[in-house]
Amino acid sequence: MNELVLMVALPLLTAFLLPVIDRLSSLAARWIGPLVLLLTAIIGLSAWSQTGSGAITIELGNFRPPLGIDLYVDQLALLFALAVTLGTLLLWPAEGEQRLRQSTLALLLAGSGSGLALSGDLFNIYVLYELIAVVSYGLAASRGTAAGQAATLRYLIVSAFGAALALAGIALVYQATGTLNLAQLAQLAPTQLNNGQGLAAFVLMLVGFGVKAELFPVNTWVPEVYATAPARVAGLLAGVVSKLALLIIVRLLILLFPQPEALTVMLVLGILGVLTGELAAWRARDFNRMLAFSSIGQLGIMFIAFSIPGKAGVFAGLAVALHHLVVKPALFLLAQRWGGSLEHLAGVAKGSPLAAALFILLALSLIGVPPLPGFWAKLLVMIHLLEQQSSLYALGAWIIMAGAALEANYLFRVASSFYRREAAATPPAAHRTGDLAGASLLGAALAAAVFLIVPLADRIEAMAGQAADRDHYIQTVNPEPLP
C-alpha cells in the first residue's frame, strides 16, 4: 500500500534531480517529467478501487500518529491527488528557453499538491501549501513581462500575509489542543475547539488558505495573474490549485469546525464572491480576465455549496468543483492563443471551427444548460440551498441564478462574436495541436459525462458520504490517545 507515497515522493525527487539529468541528456530531461507524472497517475489509479470500501491511512516510518506523520487516503483525497497529477500533465507548462526551470516547478507542484491532498496533519498541510505557493510564484512570473512580475509580486504579498494568518490559526488550534494531527483534532474538536478560540482559528485559516481558493476578498491577485501568466499556468491555478486549497478548508470544516457560525462566514464570503466575480467578468474586455473573474464566481458557488451543512453540502460542492476542474483548464487551453482583447476574436470560427465549438460546449456546461453535467451540479446546489429553509441560504440560491444569467450573457457575447461575418483585423494564430487536443479531451470527457451522469452521481455521492463521515476518519487513522 505504501506505493501511494510515491505519488508525493517521485515527482519531488525527479524535480530535484532534473538539473543533473539535463546535464546527462537534454532529451531525457524533456521527457522524464511527463513520464513520471504518468507513472504516478497510474499508481494512484491502481489504488483507486481499494479506497472504495473505506479510507486507508499510511503511517510513514510505521510511527503511529501523533508521533508519526500519516497520509490519509480516502477517495476524495486520492481524486484530488490524481487531479493535480493529471492536470499538471495535461497542462504541462514547460516550453521555450526556460523549459528546465518550468519542468522542475511543474513537478514540484504535482508532488506537493498530491501531498497536500493526502496529508493527515495540519503541519504538513501548511508546509506543502507554502511549497505550492512558492512554485506558483515562479510559474506565474515565468513569462518575464513587467506586468507579469508586478502581478506576481502582488500575489506574493497577499499570499504571504495569508500564510501568516493560516499559521496563526494553526497556532491557535495547537494552543487549544496540543496536537496537529487531523484525526486527533477531530476527536478533540467537540470539547476543545467548539468555542470562540476555535472559530477564530477557523476564520484565520479560512482567510489564509482562501487566498489560493480565490475566496472573496483575498482574491484580488487573480485577474492580473491569470491575465499575465501563461494560459496553461492560469489553467493550473484556476482549475487545480484553487480546488486543493478548497479541499483543505472543507476538511477543516468537516473534521474540526461543524459550528454554524463557521458555515455562515463561508456562505457570506461565497455569495460576495459570486456577486463580484460575475459582475466584474461581465465587464471584462479581455479573454483571460473574463475567465479569471468567472472562475472567482464559480469558486464562490463552491464556497456557497460547501457551506451547506452535512453530507449534502459536500456532495453538491464536490459536484460543482469537479465540473469546474474539467471546464476551466479546457477554457484556459483555448486562451493560450485567444488571450488578450476580445475584439480580436471576431470571426475566428471560420479559421478554427473546432475551438469555437469547444468553447460553446464548455460555456453551455459552465452556465448549466441541461443535459450537460454543469446543470446537474447546479441543480443539486440549488435544491440543497433551498432545503435549508433559511433566508441567507435562499439568498445564495438567488445570487447563483442571477450570476448564471450574467454569465450566459458574457460568455455568449464572446461566442457569437466568433461567428460574426467580418473577421478582426489581426486574428489570433491558430491553436497548437497540443492545446487543442487537451481541450478536446476535456470537452469529450464532459460530453461523455452526459451519458454517464447516473453512475457518476452515485460515485460522487459515495465519495461525499465517505468524506463527510468524521467518525470514519477518526477510526481509520486510530491515533494513540494523548497523554
Binding site: V203, T220, A280, F375, E387, A405, A408, V454
Partner: protein, 626 residues
C-alpha cells in the same frame, strides 16, 4: 417501444440524416420525407386528439440524483406536436427545391440549416412529451438553444438579436429553475401531480412568487411585454423557411409551458384569488393585461415596419397575446379560442412568411418601399398572401376569424369590456398593417426592374397552397380543429366547448361558419356573374398607364408606398417612444455601473488591506457571539 418512442427516435434520426447527406440536393426531400414519417407516427396516436385514448407514455425513464424523469404524450402535447411537425414538414419542403440551391450557392450550409430545423422539431417534441417538471425544464432549455442555433444561421442582425434572446431566455430559464426547485423543496418531488396537490395548501405569497417566476420565465419565449425586444428581428432575419417555422410555432412553446404550469397545475381559479396589492386586480387580471398590451404595442410597432419579414414577426408577438388572453379567461369559449388561435396562427403565419420568402427569392428584397405590382407576375403567391392576411386580420372566411371571435365572445360574456376594447384596438392595427403589406408587395405600381420576374417555383408553391387550403378549410369547417381543442380542454381540466362542424352553438348567438362562408361565397358568385356578364374588357400591359390624359412612363413613381398612413402616423406617431428600449438600456447601464464598481474592487492596489479588513470583521463577528 411505444408509438411515442418511435416518434422521438425518428425525429432524432431526422436531425442526424442531414449531417450525413450534407449539402447535397437530396437533403431537403429526404428531410421532408422523414417529417412525413413523423407525421404518420403522430397520426397513430390520433386517438389523443379525439379524446379516445389515455396518455401514451414513453418506455424510457431515467433516475438521476434520485429524481425520476419520464415522458408522455397527452392531448395537449399531441395538438402542439401536430402543429410542430406540420410546420417542420412544410418548411422543409419549401426549403427543398430552388431555395436550397440558392442558399447553397450563397455559401451557406444546407446541412446546418436542415439539421437545425430538425433539431428544433425534435427538441420541441421532447418538451411537449415532458412528464414532470424536471423534464419540462430540460426540454425547455433544449428548445431555447435549438432555436438560438436556428436564429444564428441568419444575418449579422439576426445574430445580434439571437444574442439578446439568449440573455433574456437564459435569465427566464433561471427564473423557471428557481420556481421548480422551490416547488421541489416544498413537495419533495418534481411530479405534476404532487405540485397540483400542494397548491391548495400554499399561502398567497408563495403562489405569487411561483406565478411570477413561471410567468416571466415562460413569457420570455412568448415575447410577452416587457421581454419582447428580442423576437421580431431575430425571427425576421432567420433564413426564409426557418423564419416560417419559428414564426409558426417556436414561441408557442412558451404558451404550452404556461398552460401546463399555470392552467393545468396552479389553475386559473387560484390566480383569480391572488390580489394585486393596492388595486382591485387579481393575478389573472394582471397577466391578462400584460397579454392585451402584448397585443397592442407590438402590433402597432408592426405598422411602422417597412420590411415585410419584420412586419410579420412583430405580428407574431402580438397574436401570441390573443392566445394567452383567451386561455386566461378559462371558460369553454375563451380557452377554445386561445388554443385554436395557436393552430390558426401557425397556418397563416407560415404561409405569410413563405410568400414573403418567395417574393425575396424572385426579387431579392423584402423592403416594402422597393416592391409593388407583383400580382400579375406572381398570382399564386399573391393568393397565398391574401388568404394569409385575411387570416391574420381575423376576418371571415378564414380560420383566424373563428378563434378571435371565440375570444371576443368570451370577453364580452365574462364582462371584461376593457380587455375586449384592447383586443379590438389590436385587431385594428393588424388590419391596417396587413393591408400595407399586401398593397406594397403585390398591388400598386410595378417596378421596372420587376417586369420580367416569374411565379415562385413549384417547390415553394406547393407548401403555400397546402397551407392556404388549410387556412380556408379550417375557417369553413372550424369543427375539424375544435374536436382537438375539446380534447385538449378536457386534458388540462378546462371546461369543454360544445361544438359542431360549423362552429359553436350558444344561447346568446352562436357561430356557424358553414352558413357564414356559404353566404359570403354566394355573394361573391353573384358579383362574379355581374362582372362576367358586363362589357368585354381589354387587357393592357401593367405598365401601360395614363393619368390626366398623359402617358405615364414606367420610371415615374406615381404611387408611393413610403410613409404609409401619414395621417394616422401624424396622430399616433408621438406615441412611439421606444420606452422599452429605454428601460432595457437603463437596466444595462445600471448593471454596467455596478460591475464597474466590482471591477474597481479587484483593481485595488492594497490587497493586504482587504485581507486584514475581512479578518477583523469576521473575527469580531464570530467572537461577538460569545
Amino acid at each position: 417501444m411505444t408509438p411515442l418512442d418511435q416518434l422521438l427516435l425518428l425525429s432524432a434520426l431526422t436531425v442526424v440524416v442531414p449531417l450525413f447527406t450534407g449539402n447535397r440536393r437530396i437533403t431537403g426531400p429526404l428531410a421532408t420525407l422523414l417529417y412525413t414519417g413523423q407525421g404518420l407516427l403522430l397520426l397513430r396516436m390520433a386517438g389523443l386528439g379525439y379524446g379516445s385514448e389515455t396518455p401514451v407514455s414513453s418506455a424510457v425513464s431515467l433516475q438521476v440524483l434520485g429524481l425520476e424523469l419520464h415522458w408522455r404524450f397527452d392531448a395537449l402535447s399531441w395538438f402542439f406536436a401536430l402543429i410542430t411537425i406540420g410546420a417542420g414538414l412544410l418548411s422543409s419542403w419549401f426549403a427543398s427545391g430552388e431555395w436550397a440551391q440558392r442558399y447553397r450557392d450563397s455559401g451557406s450550409s444546407l446541412r446546418l440549416f436542415h439539421a437545425a430545423l430538425a433539431l428544433n422539431v425534435f427538441t420541441m417534441l421532447v418538451l411537449l412529451a415532458s412528464g414532470e417538471l424536471l423534464s419540462l425544464f430540460i426540454g425547455w432549455e433544449l428548445v431555447s438553444w435549438a432555436s438560438f442555433l436556428m436564429m444564428s444561421l441568419g444575418s449579422n442582425t439576426a445574430l445580434r438579436y439571437a444574442m439578446r434572446y439568449v440573455t433574456y431566455a437564459f435569465a427566464g430559464a433561471m427564473a423557471v429553475l428557481m420556481g421548480l426547485v422551490l416547488v421541489y423543496t416544498r413537495t419533495g418531488s418534481f411530479e405534476f401531480q404532487a405540485f397540483r396537490d400542494a397548491v391548495p395548501s400554499m399561502d398567497a405569497d408563495t403562489v405569487w412568487l411561483l406565478f411570477g417566476l413561471f410567468a416571466a420565465g415562460f413569457g420570455v419565449k412568448m415575447a410577452l411585454l416587457p421581454f419582447h425586444l428580442w423576437q421580431a428581428k431575430a425571427y425576421a432575419e432567420t433564413p426564409g423557411p426557418g423564419a416560417a417555422f419559428l414564426g409558426a410555432i417556436s414561441s408557442r412553446m412558451g404558451l404550452f409551458a404556461m398552460i401546463v404550469v399555470l392552467v393545468q397545475i396552479i389553475g386559473v381559479a387560484r390566480l383569480v384569488e391572488l390580489p394585486v396589492p393596492f388595486t382591485f386586480l387579481s393575478g389573472r387580471d394582471l397577466l391578462a393585461w400584460v397579454a392585451v398590451f402584448t397585443i397592442i404595442f407590438p402590433t402597432f410597432t408592426a405598422l411602422r415596419q417597412h420590411d415585410a419579414r419584420r412586419l410579420l414577426a412583430w405580428h407574431g408577438i402580438g397574436q401570441g397575446g390573443y392566445m394567452l388572453l383567451g386561455i386566461l379567461i378559462a371558460d369553454d369559449l375563451g380557452s377554445a379560442g386561445g388554443l385554436m388561435h395557436v393552430f390558426n396562427h401557425a397556418t397563416y403565419q407560415a404561409v405569410l412568411f413563405m410568400s414573403v420568402t418567395a417574393v425575396i427569392h424572385r426579387t431579392g428584397t423584402s423592403d416594402l418601399n422597393k416592391l409593388g405590382g407583383l400580382v400579375a407576375r406572381m398570382p399564386l403567391s399573391f393568393l397565398a398572401m391574401l388568404i394569409g392576411i385575411i387570416g391574420l386580420a381575423g376576418l371571415p372566411p378564414m380560420n383566424g376569424f373563428v378563434s378571435k371571435w371565440l375570444v371576443y365572445r368570451a370577453l364580452i360574456l365574462e364582462g371584461s369590456p376593457l380587455l375586449f376594447l384592447g383586443a379590438v384596438i389590436g385587431t385594428l392595427g393588424t388590419i391596417l398593417s396587413v393591408y400595407k403589406l399586401i398593397h406594397n408587395t403585390f398591388l400598386g405600381q410595378l417596378r421596372l426592374e420587376h417586369v420580367d420576374i416569374e411565379e415562385a417555383p413549384s417547390s415553394m408553391l406547393w407548401p403555400m397552397m397546402i397551407l392556404s387550403t388549410v387556412v380556408f378549410v379550417t375557417g369553413y369547417f372550424p369543427g375539424l380543429v375544435l374536436d382537438w381543442i375539446a380534447s385538449v380542454q378536457a386534458a388540462v381540466g378546462l371546461p369543454v366547448l360544445a361544438h359542431h362542424l360549423g362552429g359553436v352553438h350558444i344561447d346568446k348567438g352562436g357561430l356557424d361558419m358553414i352558413w357564414v362562408v356559404s353566404v359570403l361565397l354566394a355573394g361573391f358568385g353573384v358579383g362574379a356573374l355581374v362582372f362576367l356578364s358586363g362589357n368585354r374588357s381589354k387587357r393592357v400591359h401593367q405598365l401601360d398607364n395614363y393619368a390626366g390624359g398623359h402617358f405615364l412612363t414606367a420610371d415615374t413613381r406615381y404611387q408611393y408606398s413610403d410613409n404609409f398612413y401619414p395621417g394616422l402616423m401624424h396622430l399616433i406617431g408621438p406615441w412611439y417612444r421606444k420606452s422599452f428600449r429605454w428601460l432595457e438600456g437603463g437596466f444595462v447601464s445600471t448593471v454596467d455601473t455596478v460591475s464597474q464598481l466590482m471591477q474597481g474592487l479587484y483593481r485595488h492596489t492594497h490587497p493586504a488591506f482587504y485581507l486584514l479588513a475581512v479578518v477583523v470583521f469576521a473575527l469580531s463577528w464570530v467572537m461577538g457571539g460569545d
